[in-house]
């Protein structure tokens, strides 16, 4: 009986801590997505190839997240898009706008700065 209680307790706390990690992991990844997407769109791509490229580089993103993000970035003027026919199917191609390139440069500089700060903190710890 006590063994069951013991196992149930550790399963509960283990599940709780893995949930916490998963949530924090998603938050961390979400923060990097915009930079990753803008960086990938230095070359023109359509949604699916962009998703595949990100996944191949270790940053998998689902459709429900990517397409609203692309829409938002386009509304903000960082991307331009165009519907074109390819292989007898209509696809929407995205690439960085001039403003998007500028913002990407700034974001990458910010990223470097955060990276440096974090490394410093970790070394001090």
């Amino acid at each position: 009986m006590w063994y069951i209680v013991y196992v149930a307790y550790y399963m509960a706390t283990g599940t709780a801590s893995s949930e916490v990690f998963e949530n924090l992991r998603m938050e961390l990844r979400r923060g990097c997505l915009v930079v990753a997407v803008l960086a990938q769109l230095r070359c023109e791509q359509y949604g699916y190839t962009l998703r595949k490229a990100l996944a191949d580089d270790g940053l998998a993103i689902d459709e429900g997240t990517l397409y609203p993000l692309l829409r938002r970035l386009e509304t903000q003027g960082l991307l331009v898009s165009q519907w074109r026919e390819e292989d007898k199917r209509n696809k929407r191609f995205y690439r960085l706008s001039a403003e998007g390139e500028l913002i990407l440069k700034q974001l990458l500089a910010e990223w470097e700065s955060i990276n440096a700060s974090l490394n410093k903190i970790l070394q001090e710890a």
Binding site: G47, Y48, G64, Y67, R89, N90
Partner: protein
Amino acid sequence: MSKTSSRDSSSSGNSAELIDRYLQAVRFWLPKSHRQDDLMAELGEDLRCQIEDKETELGHPLDKAEMAAILKRCGSPMMVAGRIGPQRHLIGPALFPIYEFTVKMVLLWILVPVFVIIVGPVNLANSGGDWASAVLNTFGDLWSGLFIAAGIITLVFAMIERTNTHLGAEIKWDPLKLPPVRTGERKPSPLKAVCQFGFNAFGLAWLLLLPKYPVLILGPAAALLRATPLLHTFYLPFVLLSVVALLRPGIILARPQWTWFPLLSPLLQSALVLILLNYMIEALAKTPSAYPFVVLQDAVRDSPKYFKLAGIVNLSILVSIACVWFAVCISAIVQTRVFLRHVRKRTSAASGIASVGVR
């Protein structure tokens, strides 16, 4: 047409049909203004690409189960619509704390007392003494009242949220005007004591005027009702209690160094009120009359149409006494805890100083 090409065309037909059905389901959950055709087209194209890649990987066209697996991995239509669609909330994070506070104040501190003290006795009088149906009716009315009130408050706040009228209020605040940090031991505020004195004086004046002007408590019904001997008996003790309550802020102002007084005096006052109420309830239990607090004036004593009025007023007073009794009990418990915590703090501070002195 060969078997392979016919299988290819039928599977592409199946995949197109399944994708269209999936997109239709996603579109159903999106708000009408946001049935974004472009987004649906992109999502559809993405799914088709996924199916093509899978077919290339497996070396054969996908059957329905394999296609369904891809769609399942994408997520349920409702969930996908939730992610794709606009982020919506009825009441945003800026307004929500005020909304929550308003709902609590209105529902708990206004509606519930009104229903218990006023609506309950009215229902009981209308039910002809049938407590069970009166209680059920009151609960039913309370339930509907709570829902309607919560609905109206939610609607009002949703409209405020929509019109963004709260944005102005967000900006106007001054850090210098924030209240000071509350410490465990608060010095009694002279302003608070003066205000308490003022209100208690007003309350005492009202009590003293009641015998001559019963309209102050009964309103227009004062012409039809008069107090019973029971109320007359307890009138003087209540006046004395009010005098004691009046003296309390005076002593706090005169003797601010008596830090124990603001904590102990409310507790003593609550105890006195409880003793008085208990005597009153005992006397009430011994009163055989159906109208223990107010009765009809001699002129209208035999008019049946006023019996209900007398019943309602007596019930309201009875329910009020019960509510005051409960409230004073809870208040006494809280005041006791606060006083004991103060005593413990004082004792531990004193023993701490003593032990430092010993060292």
